[in-house]
Structures are given as C-alpha cells and as structure tokens.
C-alpha cells in the first residue's frame, strides 16, 4: 500500500488525528505528515503494531501520548512531554525533546538524537515484560529520571566531555536504572538515588539498546560499547518508608 502523505499546514490537531486514525483503520501502514508546525497530541492513543508515521516539522506537546504500538519518527525537535504515558511502540526524534520526555512511560522506546529538557523519564514504570527505554544522544537538564519506578534511561552525552551536568538525577527513584556515559558527580544525584558500579554484565545487557540507538541515527556504536558508564539506581524500593509513623 502507498504511504499516505498528509500536508498538515494550517491544520488543527483534531482533524489531523482523525485522518491518521481513519487511515490506520483502513489498513494504511505508512503515513508521512509534512509541514507539522506545533500540532499537539499527534498519534495520541493510536494503536497499530506495524504502523509507521513520519513527521516532518516540529510537533507540539504530548506527542504519542498513550500510544500503543506504532513507530513514530520525527525530523525536527519536539515539545513538552513527548512519549507521555506511552504504552508500547517507538518514538524516534531526529532533534531535541522538550521537558518531561517519556513522562510515566509504561513500555516501548523513545530515542532522542540530541538533548532533552527537565524531568526526562519522570515516573517511568515497568511491569512484567514491559520495560520502557528512554535513550538520549546528547544531554539532559535537571531531575532526570525523577520518581522513576522502572525502565531504563540512557544518556550518551555524544560530543561532550561530561554527559550530564544538571542536578537532581533520580530524585525519589524507587525502581529502574539511569545509565550515563562517563562519571557522574555524586552531588548531582537526587535524594533516594545512589551510584553503583557499571559491570560487564550491565554493558552486555545494554548493548542492544546502544546499538539500536546508533542504528536509528546512523552513528558508529563502537566507541559506546567500549567506554565507562555510571549506573544510578534506587537506594531503596521504598524511599518514603522511613518518613512516617502511625497514629
């Protein structure tokens, strides 16, 4: 089937999403949306495990929120909370993401070629086989992986001496792991987060993620498969257990 090409110039997000939905319902497997200029909620709640959406332009907030299955590739930057509460599927951003990328993500993968804003991967969670992944090529601002309850956040810091320099990493983390290339200054860790050794087994486990990331953006993975990482995990799975007494 021919890919469906949509010109989103001047189009409101509701008719745009309607077009996407009805095309997917009719069995269209590939959709290309051109001239995206800030339309929010693209592919919101969209189902479809073999659907690919290409977005040319700059989509607005909550891109792929609640999305379940499709692959969405953006050639441009994205706004607030892309991949918000995403259930499964893949979001690939050829550019930078805004704040709260992958907020409360439950499954699937988000790959960001460049940087992300504040609170990336906040409250990501995992259950059973569902283990969400947020992989970032550049760097992140503060509160990366805050309240994280599961999944993997990976920051490669490509082209940087220090991958992450902002504070509050993993504050309130009680599940999952944050993996950052190179060393991370202890003073940047949030309350409830601790740094542990990154082992050979960890590298082996994360190699497929690193390779997939590099493949998406046509980057040579070799230097990232033979380097040091910092692994940040919860100090406890029950960070607030010691704070309370009963009446």
């Amino acid at each position: 089937m021919e890919p469906l090409v949509i010109d989103a110039k001047g189009m409101h997000y509701t008719p745009l999403n309607k077009k996407i939905r009805s095309a997917v319902a009719l069995g269209v497997k590939e959709i290309v949306i051109n001239n995206v200029r800030g339309q929010r909620f693209i592919a919101n709640g969209l189902r479809g495990h073999d659907v690919k959406i290409t977005i040319n332009g700059v989509p607005g907030g909550d891109l792929c929120m609640f999305m379940s299955g499709p692959e969405c590739v953006v050639y441009g930057n994205t706004d607030h909370a892309s991949g918000n509460t995403m259930d499964s599927g893949t979001l690939v951003i050829h550019g930078s993401g805004g704040d709260a990328v992958a907020h409360s993500m439950r499954g699937g993968k988000v790959f960001v070629r460049d940087n992300i804003g504040y609170r990336g991967g906040i409250h990501m969670k995992q259950y059973g086989l569902k283990r969400p992944i947020l992989a970032v090529g550049g760097t992140s601002h503060s509160f990366l992986g805050e309240y994280m309850a599961g999944g993997i956040v990976l920051v490669l810091g490509i082209g940087r001496e220090v991958s992450v320099q902002d504070r509050g990493i993993g504050s309130g983390i009680h599940g999952g792991e944050i993996v950052i290339r190179g060393d991370v200054d202890e003073k940047l860790l949030g309350v409830g987060a601790k740094k542990v050794d990154f082992t050979e087994e960890d590298l082996e486990r994360l190699s497929p993620v690193i390779k997939e990331f590099c493949e998406k953006f046509d980057i040579d993975p070799t230097p990232f498969l033979d380097t040091n990482y910092s692994r940040i995990v919860p100090a406890s799975s029950r960070p607030f257990a010691g704070k309370y007494t009963w009446e």
């Binding site: 997000y13 509701t14 999403n17 309607k18 939905r21 929010r40 909620f41 919101n44 709640g45 189902r47 907030g61 909550d62 929120m65 609640f66 999305m67 379940s68 607030h80 909370a81 918000n84 509460t85 259930d87 709260a100 907020h103 409360s104 439950r106 609170r119 906040i122 409250h123 969670k125 995992q126 259950y127 569902k130 805050e146 309240y147 309850a149 599961g150 309130g172 009680h174 599940g175 799975s237 029950r238 960070p239 607030f240 257990a241 010691g242 704070k243 309370y244 007494t245 009963w246 009446e247």
Partner: protein, 503 residues
Amino acid sequence: MSLGSVPLKYKISIDRDQCMKCMRCVDNCSYGVYRIEDDKIIIDSRKCTACHRCISMCPRDAITLQERPVDYRSHPLWTVEAREDVINQARTGKIILAGMGNAVDYPIIFDRLVLDACQVTNPSIDPLREPMELRTYLGKKPSKIEFTRDDKGDIDLKTELTPNLKLDTPLMIGHMSYGAISLNAQLSIAKAAKKSGTFMGTGEGGMHEAIYPYQDHSIVQIASGRFGVNIDYLERGAAIEIKVGQGAKPGIGGHLPGEKVCTDVSCTRMIPLGSDAISPAPHHDIYSIEDLAQLVRSLKEATEWKKPVFVKIAAVHNVAAIAAGIARSDADAVVIDGFKGGTGAAPKVFRDSVGMPIEAAVAAVDQKLNDQGIRNEVSVIASGGIRNSGDLAKSIALGADAVYIGTASLIALGCRVCGNCYRGLCPWGIATQREDLVDRIDPEVGSEHVANLIQGWTLELSELMGAAGLNSIESLRGNRSRLRSYMLDEGLMDVLQVDSVGA
C-alpha cells in the same frame, strides 16, 4: 529513659455469664484482641481499634467496649490527642499518618443550614403521586441551541452537543482505588452503581477485569502516578477524571505502601509486586492552568472526544478562581473535595488542618462561575463528608449538580469508621487485600446494601423536594433561597449567599 506506655484507647470486656464461648470474636478479630488460653477467652484491649466486628458478630451481645477507660487530667488545650501525638513524635521523630477523614471538631456547616418547606401557599408535592425529576446530566451545556426545520416541518437539533453522563439520581460513589479497598468492596460498589443508574469512580489504580462488566457505570481516574493507565483503560470508562487533589490531603501526593501491592493489585496497577506505588504531589506534566487544559484535551483527543473529562481538586482557599480556570479548559465537570473527605491514609496534620469545608467551597465555586457567566461550561460535583440525604439536598441547593459519597458507601459495606484503613487488616474486608478478610464481603449482598443506601437517599431527596414544592432537581440546584442559616456568622452567610432563619 522510657516514656512508658500511653493509656488504652479502648477497653473490651466480656460478660462471662452471657458468653457461650462460640469463639466468633476470636475468629473475627484480625487485630488479635482475643486469644484462647485453657479454654478461656483472654482479651488484649490494647490491640482493639473499635471496628466493632466482634460486637456485631457476638450472638449474645456479651461484648462491651469503652472508649478511653483511663482519664487524663482534663485540659481544654492539651487534649488527650495533643498529648499522645507529642509522645509519639518524641519517640519517632516522624510524620504522623492517620486513616479516615478529618477528626477535628470543626463546626459542621451542613448542621447550621436548614431547608425550606411549603405551607399553605405554593402547596407541597407528593412524590407518590407526582413525578419527581431527579435525572441529572453531567457535562458541558451549550449556551444556546439551534434547530433546523425541513420541508415536512420536522425539527432537528443543529447544535452539536458535548457528551454528558446521564444519572438517575444526583449521587455517585467517589473514587476509591482497588488497592486502597478490596476487589469485593469495589465490585459491590460497581454493581450498586449499575443497579442504581449512577456511576462509581475507579480511583487511581487501573481497572480490575472483574469490574469490566460495569465499566459503562465507571469513571476512570488518571492521577499523578498514572497507575494502570493505558488507552484501553481510558476507553473503558464512561468518563475520565483527572485527580489533581484530594480533600483529605490537599497539596500532597498519594502513597500505597508496598505491603498492599499483592499480585492482583500489582497487575491492575501495572507495577512490580511489593513495590511502593508513589503518586507525586503534582502531575509533572501540569505546572499551570494551560498545562491542565492540555491534559484535558490530550485525554479527549486520545478518546476521540467521546468522553466527558472531569477535574477533581481539593477545596483550598482559592478554589473558586481555580474552578473558573478549569471551566475555561475543555473540562466537563469540576469535582470539589472538601476537607472532611475520607482517605485510607494521610498525614494527620494535613487531614486535620489543610483545606476547607465543602459547603463553603461549593457555594463559592457556583457563585464565581455564575458571576463570570460560565456556569453552563462545567458541572459541579461536591464531595467530602456528605452523610445523609439532607447533606445531599443542601449541597445541591448550594450549587452542586451532583455529589460523590465515599465513606457512607463503605459504612454500607460494614465499615464502622475505626480509622485503621492503612493497616491492611480491615476485619470488614474493605481496606485490606488479605484473602480471608476480603472474602467476608459477598459482592451480591454488598451491592444490595450500597444500592439500598442510594435508594433511601434518593427517596428522601424526592420527599424533601416535594415538600419544598419543587418537582425537578434543576429547581433546587443553586437555589439558596430554600436554605436558611441557623447560627452561622455573617461572613460565612455572605459566602454561602444565604439568609438567617427568620429573615
């Protein structure tokens, strides 16, 4: 240095002449008050929570309970509770958590408001004879409607209406999550909602598949933890509610302790077994009223604009202005939760000291929305400490479209408001996940009790309306002239927009 023990909260005694040693008390008490030694029932009163399970199951009425059997020196400022809290914190240095709603003896505004009835002029209506219109639609109402007339003279509605929830009675059951309460408790409530033509809230905990048959009568909740939320969940609910705050603990998040996260709860919430389920204080994608509007639209967009979206906030000082902001988003209803609302666990200082009563909040919100000409943009749902049909009628007269009840529905399932919900040992099978305790609720019977309660209040509401000469709920809504204040101060009367008795 030892601070010693504090006196017993409750003392249990058994009238040994009456007792026939059937051992029901021993079997029923999940707190371990009773044990058998040498064929004698031994009592450990210190473990008692006054849940009344043993008393209600004793066939001989042989058990008595006395509250505070040991006197402190009485003091108006240094109450027993004040002293014991200091002792507790001197020992632990921690935040005190407590169960159930606000336990401070604040004046109850509902009890200082009286309803009107007809005498002589404008005769009252007998609901037995005349139809009483209690049907309530929750959601946006158009500010005007347009029609078209075709050649044959048939009239069609031209205005596109926003989806509304249709209630047979202006009474719904509020959000209590599976996890906070047991599946049998939630199932009883869901069945009752369906039977009564109303709706129940799922709380923030996903929806267990046992609830699916009742999903058309459910309102699914999305809170800051986003537990159990996916597109299927959103599509299951008849409406979606964004929980911003809760009356019992405004401004703080929720926290389901790992002990309560059993296999089934973990599967419904979609989190690992035994891990804490932490809902942060704010939604981290809502830092402003614009962000809230974005989440409302995002939920609507995801569900193709087919579901009403509610926003629940705790009643706090600026509740009216906040509600006006919400009304300007695409939200269909604003839920105001007053500070007497229940909870499984909340920091005591929040439960008892933060927020405001629902009576003042709902009146202030209704007034503000009317003043701004946007009252039709949202429905107003009141909750937090509604105990009977009188409170229900007064809430509507103060401006609510409908109310949520929580604690009252649990009392219908056996709860005696002992306030130990957080311990996970509820002997009534409500606030627990222990299988043998959960089995104490038969959802068939439980749903009948909850449906009975709704029916009783609905009948009483019809009677109250009939007595006031009103035959439709719309005529009561926001009708402050049918309320009078009995010994409220002038400031509060001004907020409520009610006159004094006799005026």
